[in-house]
Symmetry: C2
Subunit: 361 residues, 2 copies
């Protein structure tokens, strides 16, 4: 979770450690927008650097992430009983769900609730739910009949440890648990608005459900599987389809759900949706760049894997330099959407965007 | 879907074609309760016979089921776009979902909404959702790594036609679609109470989610798989666990969800929950009895399959006569819960209980 410079930002000048989102004036002129964007792409590198020097900045991103991850892990741990029957099922669910990970999606959900003005605690149940959905998709995608992966985060995958039937069923159970968790009154703190809260929860559940099926994760996996094993180069449009569905859809839902629960207006929700779509795609472009530019040691997984497996990536289609430019554009598109929100409340989402752009693994 | 006498009721005397639920006086004395139960088990056979002679009865059960199934099929058909990408996924979802079937769960959901006083149309989205969940559980249970079934209702199973990866993903997509459908404002008619409706939907979604995972369908399948291939006789308690989770949980949720959407009071919901638990178990006991007493031709599937596969069933554990008695008790337990509701509004649930008890396949 270290915040350091990503190669795409390496040549940038370090300037004042500002959080630019709220201080940048909004403007409708194209020239101003272009200036604004340039300004952001400079500040991006800076703020990330600033955030890593936590003691001297206004917002301690590392502490934020560590605290949120710990809280989410507690919620996830409490959501699945250990040892209760059927023991094998619960054990498999816990194995997959509590295997670590950065909890980026829950953090986005909590931060979006905060930027919308709600106490982050309101979004703890949805934050846990999006992680359950994420885990479920990993468990099913790893199955022998899918990507057939034996390792995940350096540990044997769920079906390797518990067998294929339990892995399929643990995924199903995690998916339903996500909705159960979101729908349970007991998952929310008592200070939610009793009149507005149910309608917000219904809307948030609709968002979560939509990003899983034939408009989201599943659609992305289907098209990804169709591309696997073919020697043809995947066209850029198809590559973007896969990533928008397999990766961006759940990141988008995480942000939008948090915003809804936090009481965002429709206009705010749409701005945050745009923010999330940009960082969703950014997430994948950066992944592709890292695979080319980093060593296995730095990544914590096999580098050059995409190249070796003949997988279509952004660097392969666009070249490395253009991929970096695309990543920069996505980052500035994302952070631009945060202008106009309260500066302090926008800090977590702003830093999450920097983090996604500048992560080293 | 023909309503005829089931062997367990064959020796009963036919008396007046009454719908007994609402006219039966409730009593707290044990003797009265016993009398009440006896009365029911007599009337049960009669009312079922009466219902089959539709022209002369107050309630035309056959027409009710045919109309409801048609409406649910229309809703299911509209819920999944044909031909839109990813085409293989949508095709697989439609293949599994629109393969026919009696639509008993949706009918229970609609009827429960009606008994609670709501227009049945309010529960059309949840009714479609429970069928999506049911279908998803069949698709995943049929997988090669699970029950490895090649045929379902006389047609090749989903993974046989579309391959294993698509079958897993189609199940996931159906599961998320169920929640999306329940959470979408557009799934409900405009006359729902704008103030009470969102809270009812949240509660209903919680019920649906709970019956799928480690407290419902999935738990039942896990324990069922654990029992498969062992030569030991499954104890009655374990058999009941499997059936309560694999079969009864979703029937219970179907009823309870309909009741919630229809505006039932908590006390009514609990009575309907008891009704549903009884018919859920009844459903399975009758299945087991039919396997022993009917020919393959009558069943539309291989008779004696349970015996041949060494599967533990109620007749095997209790004997045929005691199994019939148990079925009768479950039926009278169920119908008893309907006393006190409006007679006309109770008719569909009452007849659904008879139907489940007396079906011939």
């Amino acid at each position: 979770m270290a915040l350091a410079f990503h190669p795409l930002a390496a040549s940038r000048v370090r300037i004042a450690p500002l959080l630019p989102a709220a201080v940048a004036p909004s403007s409708s002129s194209v020239a101003a927008a272009r200036h604004h964007r340039r300004r952001f792409s400079v500040v991006v590198a800076t703020a990330a650097a600033a955030a890593s020097a936590s003691a001297t900045t206004e917002f301690d991103f590392k502490a934020y992430m560590v605290e949120r991850a710990a809280a989410v892990n507690r919620a996830l741990d409490a959501a699945i009983p250990a040892g209760e029957p059927p023991a094998a099922l619960h054990e498999a669910m816990r194995y997959a769900l509590l295997a670590g990970g950065k909890r980026v999606r829950p953090a986005l959900c909590l931060a979006a609730c905060g930027i919308a003005g709600g106490p982050e605690a309101w979004a703890m149940a949805p934050a846990a739910a999006v992680e359950m959905v994420h885990t479920m998709s990993l468990v099913h995608d790893d199955l022998p009949c899918m990507d057939d992966d034996d390792l995940r985060r350096g540990k044997p995958t769920c079906h390797v440890v518990f067998g294929e039937p339990i892995a399929v069923l643990a995924g199903d159970a995690l998916l339903s648990l996500a909705f159960h968790h979101m729908a349970s009154v007991g998952s929310y703190p008592p200070d939610v608005d009793p009149e507005k809260h149910p309608a917000r929860v219904v809307r948030a559940i609709g968002e979560l459900a939509r990003c899983i099926g034939s408009e989201g994760l599943v659609a992305g996996q289907v098209v990804d599987l169709e591309m696997t094993g073919t020697s043809e180069v995947v066209p850029l449009e198809r590559l973007e389809y896969i990533h928008l569905h397999k990766t961006a859809a759940l990141l988008e839902a995480s942000v939008v759900i948090g915003a809804i629960i936090g009481g965002a207006t429709d206009e705010q929700i749409e701005r945050l949706r745009k923010y999330a779509r940009s960082i969703g795609l950014l997430f994948q472009v950066v992944d592709d760049i890292l695979d080319v530019t980093k060593s296995s040691e730095e990544l914590g997984k096999t580098a050059g894997k995409d190249l070796a497996s003949d997988k279509t990536t952004y660097p392969k289609l666009l070249g490395l330099e253009k991929s970096r430019e695309f990543a920069e554009k996505l980052l500035s598109d994302a952070t631009e959407q945060l202008a106009g929100f309260d500066k302090e409340k926008a800090a977590p989402l702003l830093h999450l965007a920097y983090y996604i752009a500048h992560r080293q693994n």
